[in-house]
């Protein structure tokens, strides 16, 4: 049932994005670095957005000895 996982976790993406936004907000980095961070941040935002748009609920089943009946788990 498990679908493919994201190469980099969404939490990491969001954390880094926040980090970049904060650094840029402070505005105390050289212009070159600022442009690089901006590009990185925009990439992260785009990747995260795409990932979220494609997100689907993943459901795994943990079978119990009493309840692992064939008619139950076929549509889950």
């Amino acid at each position: 049932m498990a679908k493919k996982t994201a190469p980099l976790s969404i939490e990491d993406h969001l954390k880094r994005l926040q980090e970049i936004a904060t650094i840029l907000d402070r505005g105390d980095v050289p212009l070159e670095e600022q442009l690089q961070l901006f590009a990185e941040g925009m990439d992260l935002a785009a990747t995260a957005r795409t990932y979220l748009e494609r997100a689907e609920l993943r459901i795994q089943e943990l079978s119990g000895p009493l309840t692992a009946q064939p008619d139950h788990d076929s549509d889950l």
């Binding site: 935002a45 795994q60 943990l62 119990g64």
Partner: protein
């Protein structure tokens, strides 16, 4: 409608009945009644109607078809019923909406419930201190419930809608019947070992008997033992079970539990990304504007003056230089020159040529002023730039001057050359 109003003025029958309804339904709510069954009838609709009575009184009862009942009681049976008092306005009568019915003495569920509740409370299993809080952004959520009930569907739909990034680990369990308590307890232990951030244990609504496994010590102990935060979600809002007291959080319904495990929704995450992106764009725009201001400052005031001085001093050479420049660069110089022209007035007062009107001269070599620090030597070919003349001269003789003896002069000398270095 307030009681006070009813007493002080005439009211309609409907208003009075509504007041009675409020008094009985809200004032009494859930009750447990012991009595004798009489006139027990099962209607063709499947609903059961009877009267519960004792020596002194009688009360009409209804037990809807949807309420589960193991055996129909017989006339004259002494029973314990649990239910809510309801008023039926069209007929002006009241009746007991029976949720559960048991023969008296044989497994009095309510008494058992109260005894267990008391015992576990004394053991400290309900203490707030023992409760674990639900993580703010659970990644893996365990669900223990019936694989066939609406509760599972409701929870999956709610989680999927709110935050499909969540991974669900589902453990189907028997939630009704004799082996239910044991299976739910085992499921909790398994889920605890499986490593989830939070688990939901629950089922949809039902009679007290239906929910009974969640009132057992077996399930209570399993919840108490587990280290994973547990949300109990048994039945409807009005159903309260022992599991609810032991669990870290009680959710009113399975759907409410699903909402609790997805406190951060996809929409919120998306809004957060948008906010971050906007912050980045704003920061960059601010920087660009700051740079623009800086650039304007550069071709403004003193900085612009210095640039203009260079342009003027280098006179004709500009044409040669610009001739070798890219077209856009030449354009830029023209722009700057143009800008400087507009500031002519300001420049007048600041202009380094101003002293030339007083008779001072700039000593230049190859079109550039010779700094005071560079010594002159005999035979040097230099240019004296005066206010309205230049003179090419050859140095005949040099001699040292005591600089400190004429500070006024030095100041001028420095003024004339320093902007050009």
């Amino acid at each position: 409608m307030k009681i006070r109003d009813i007493r002080s003025e005439a009211v309609t029958v409907g208003e009075l009945t509504q007041a009675i309804k409020g008094l009985l339904e809200e004032g009494l709510g859930s009750v447990i009644v012991v009595g004798e069954v009489s006139n027990y009838k099962v209607a063709s609709s499947g609903h059961r109607y009877f009267t519960l009575k004792d020596d002194d009184a009688a009360i009409s009862c209804v037990m809807w078809k949807s309420r589960s009942l193991q055996n129909d009681p017989r006339e004259g049976d002494r029973v314990v019923v649990g239910g809510r008092l309801t008023v039926y306005p069209p007929r002006g009568n009241y009746q007991l909406d029976v949720h559960a019915l048991r023969p008296e003495g044989v497994g009095d569920l309510y008494a058992t419930f109260e005894r267990l509740k008391q015992a576990l409370a004394e053991r400290g299993w309900f203490d707030a201190a023992g409760k674990t809080s639900i993580p703010t952004m659970p990644r893996r959520v365990g669900i223990i419930t019936s694989p066939t009930g609406a509760a599972l569907h409701d929870m999956l739909t709610t989680i999927g809608r709110r935050n499909p990034l969540v991974e669900v680990l589902f453990r189907p369990a028997l939630v009704q019947g004799d082996s239910a308590a044991a299976d739910v307890a085992r499921a909790i232990a398994e889920m605890d070992a499986a490593g989830v951030d939070v688990m939901i244990v629950g089922r949809g609504g039902g009679s007290l008997e239906d929910l009974w496994s969640f009132n057992t010590e077996l399930v209570a102990a399993a919840i108490h033992r587990a280290t994973t935060p547990i949300i109990s979600a048994v039945g409807h809002e009005t159903d309260v079970t022992i599991a609810d007291f032991v669990a870290d959080v009680r959710a009113a319904t399975p759907t409410a539990a699903a909402e609790l495990v997805t406190p951060i929704t996809l929409t919120m995450i998306q809004a957060d990304i948008d906010r971050s992106a906007k912050r980045m764009c704003d920061a960059l725009l601010d920087r660009v504007q700051e740079l623009r201001r800086l650039a304007e400052g550069f071709i403004d005031g003193t900085a612009a003056d210095r640039l203009t001085e260079r342009l003027h001093l280098r006179g004709q050479r500009i044409d040669d230089v610009t001739g070798r420049m890219q077209v856009h660069l030449r354009h830029r110089v023209q722009q700057l020159t143009h800008l400087v022209d507009h500031r002519q007035e300001h420049l007048q007062s600041m202009h380094p040529y101003r002293p030339l009107r007083l008779g001072y001269a700039i000593v230049e070599r190859n079109g550039s002023p010779i700094p005071a620090s560079a010594p002159l030597a005999p035979h040097d070919e230099i240019t004296l730039r005066r206010y309205n003349q230049t003179a090419d001269v050859v140095v005949h003789q040099v001699s040292a001057t005591d600089l400190s003896s004429n500070p006024h002069h030095i100041q001028h000398g420095q003024e004339n050359s320093s902007p050009l270095d």
